[in-house]
Amino acid sequence: MAVPAQLPAPGVRRVIARREARWGLLFVLPAFLLFLAFRFGPAIAGLLLGFMDYTIGGDAEWTGLENARRLADDPVFWQSLRITVVYTLLYVPLTVAASVGLALLVRRAFRGVGFFRSVFFLPVVTSLVLVATIFSWVFSSGGPWSRILSWVGLPADSWLASSTLVLPALALVGVWSHFGYGMLIVLARLQDLPREQEEAALTDGAGPWPRFRWIVLPQLKPVLFFLLVIETTASFQVFDLVYAMTGGGPARASYTLVMALYDQGFKYFDLGYASAIGVALFAMTLVVALIQRLALGRDK
C-alpha cells in the first residue's frame, strides 16, 4: 500500500503538474510584467529612438541615421566622448591599483584588520552627492588640497577651476569613493588561494615582491579582469559625481557622455538625440565586453 502513496496515478500526476505550472506562472508574472514594461520594452525602444526624431508631446518620426550624422558633426559630443575616455584612463588603473594594494595589506589576520577593512569600505556606501559636497571644499582654493600643493611648492590654484586639472581631481575622488569595493573582491580571491606555493617559495628564500609577482599575481588575473571591466563600464557612465561636483564645468571641461545625455533628454527634451547618445554608450559597453570575451578566451 506504500507504493501508490509514493507514485500517484498518471492522471493525478498530470493534475499536480498542471497546478504546479499555473502557480509557477503566477509567481513569475508580477516580476516578469514589470521587467517587460521597464527593462525589456524600454531597451528596445531606446535603441529604436536613437534613429528617430522625438520630442515630448510631438510625434516620433523615423529619421534613420540622421541622429548619427548629427552626433558626428557635433563638437560637444566628441568633446564629451574624449572627456569620458580620459576620465576612464585616469580612474580605472588607479582604482584597480589601490584595490589590489590595500587588499594585500589587509590580507592576513592581525590586530585591527577588521577595523581597517570597515574603514576602507565606508566611502563605497556613501552617496556620491555627499562625496561631491565635501570634496568641493577639499579642492577649493584655500582648501586642504591647495594647501598641500603649496607646501610641496606646486601652484595652489583650485583644481576644480582648471580645465586641465578638473578631470584628475574628479578621478581622484572617484578612486577614493570606490577602491573599497575592488579591495573586497580582490580580498575574497586572495583568501581562497592555496598557501602551499607561497610557503614553498618562502622556504626557497623568495622575498615578498617575487612571491607576489610570480605566484599571487598570475592567480589574480581573472578577478583583476573582472574588476577592470566593471570599473571601465561604470566610468563610461559617470554622472552623479560630475553633476554634483562640477556640473560639467569649468567651460564643459568635465562634461561627460551621460551629462550630455541628461542635458539633451531632460533639459532640451530632444529625446531622440539623447537616445542616440545612449546607443553610442551601449556600443562602447559592448566593445569592452567583447574585448573581455576575447582576452578570457585566449587565456583558456
Binding site: A17, E20, A21, R22, W23, G24, F27, V28, A31, F32, L34, F35, A37, F38, R39, F40, P42, A43, A45, G46, I56, V106, R108, F110, V119, F120, L122, P123, V125, T126, S127, L128, V129, L130, T133, I134, W137, G143, P144, Y181, L184, I185, A188, E198, E199, P208, F226, T233, Y243, A244, V258, L261, Y262, F266, A274, S275, G278, L281, F282, T285
Partner: protein, 297 residues
C-alpha cells in the same frame, strides 16, 4: 579495521599544525609589520578625513574659515543644523528618500523571491525563454532604458508621484538571479514534505520559502536599500517639483543655489547618518553582497 582507522588519523591532525606554523611564516617580520601599519594608517587618514571634515565643518557658526584652523572641533555651534532643519525642506526630502528606499526594498525582495522560487523549483511553459530574456537585459546599460522609461511614466501621469518614482525601479533582474541561484541550492525535500501535508502554494511560499531565504534576503535587501538611498539620476528626472525631491536631489540642488558650506554639510550629515548606522549594524551583509556579486555575478 584498525589499519583503516589509524592511517587517516595523522592526516587529520597534521594540517592544523602545519597551517599554524606557515601562518606565522607568511606574516611579515618586524620591519614589515611596522611598514604595514604605517601604510594602513596613512590610507585610513585619507579615507576618514573627508568624513571628519564633513562633521566638523557642519558644526561651525559660519561658512568654513581658513584651513587648517577650521578643522579644530571647537567652538561647536548648531546654527547650520537649525538653518537646514527649519528653512529648508530637508525633512520632506528625508521622508521621500525613506519612502523610495523602504517601499522598493520590500517590493523588490518579495517579487524577486517569488520569481526566483518559480524559476528554481517549478516547471511551467516559457520558463527558459523568460529566464534568458532576464539574463540578456543585464548587458544593456541603464542609460539606454532611461529615456523610454521616462516617456512611459510621463505618458501615464507618473511624473512627480511616488508610484512613478518607485515602480520602474522594481524591475530588478539581478535580484531575481540571486534569488533563483539561492533557492536552487535548497533541497527539494523541504518543499515536497509540505506539499504532501496539503499546504497551499501561497502558504508554503510564506511559511517555508521565505524563512529559508532569510540570509540572502538580508544581503540583497541591504544592497537594494543602499542603491535607492543613494540614487540620484532617476529621482532627479522624475521628481521635478520641490516636494518630490529626495535627499540626493535636494542636496545637489543646494549646491546649485550657492548655499553656505556649513549648511550644506549639515544637510549631508543628516543624509549620511542613517546609512552610517545601517553600515555599523549590518556590515557583514554589505561585505557578503560585494563578494557575491564579484564572484558569482
Amino acid at each position: 579495521m584498525t589499519a583503516t582507522t589509524t592511517t587517516p588519523a595523522p592526516t587529520t591532525t597534521a594540517p592544523p599544525a602545519r597551517r599554524r606554523r606557515s601562518y606565522r611564516a607568511l606574516q611579515p617580520g618586524p620591519a614589515g609589520t611596522v611598514l604595514r601599519y604605517v601604510l594602513l594608517a596613512v590610507a585610513s587618514v585619507v579615507t576618514l578625513f573627508p568624513f571628519y571634515a564633513m562633521v566638523v565643518l557642519s558644526l561651525k557658526p559660519t561658512a568654513a574659515v581658513e584651513f587648517p584652523g577650521s578643522l579644530l572641533p571647537w567652538p561647536i555651534k548648531f546654527d547650520a543644523y537649525a538653518t537646514v532643519l527649519d528653512s529648508r525642506d530637508i525633512l520632506r526630502w528625508l521622508l521621500n528618500t525613506t519612502i523610495y528606499s523602504v517601499v522598493s526594498v520590500v517590493a523588490v525582495l518579495l517579487l524577486a523571491a517569488m520569481a526566483g522560487y518559480a524559476f528554481a523549483k517549478k516547471r511551467f511553459p516559457g520558463r527558459e525563454a523568460m529566464f534568458w530574456s532576464f539574463l540578456a537585459m543585464v548587458m544593456v546599460p541603464y542609460h539606454v532604458t532611461l529615456i523610454p522609461t521616462f516617456i512611459l511614466i510621463a505618458k501615464v501621469g507618473g511624473v512627480d508621484t511616488y508610484w512613478g518614482l518607485i515602480l520602474p525601479t522594481l524591475a530588478n533582474a539581478q535580484a531575481v538571479f540571486l534569488m533563483r541561484q539561492f533557492i536552487q541550492g535548497l533541497p527539494d525535500e523541504l518543499f515536497e514534505a509540505a506539499k504532501i501535508d496539503g499546504a497551499s502554494e501561497w502558504r508554503m511560499f510564506v511559511r517555508i520559502v521565505l524563512p529559508l531565504c532569510k540570509p540572502i534576503l538580508a544581503t540583497l535587501g541591504v544592497f537594494v536599500f543602499l542603491w535607492h538611498w543613494n540614487d540620484l539620476l532617476w529621482p532627479l528626472i522624475i521628481g521635478q517639483s520641490g516636494d518630490m525631491r529626495t535627499l540626493t536631489v535636494g542636496i545637489a540642488s543646494l549646491q546649485k543655489e550657492q548655499v553656505p558650506l556649513n549648511v550644506m554639510l549639515a544637510g549631508s550629515v543628516v543624509a549620511f547618518v542613517p546609512i552610517f548606522a545601517a553600515y555599523l549594524v549590518g556590515q557583514r551583509y554589505f561585505t557578503e553582497g560585494v563578494t557575491m556579486s564579484g564572484i558569482k555575478g
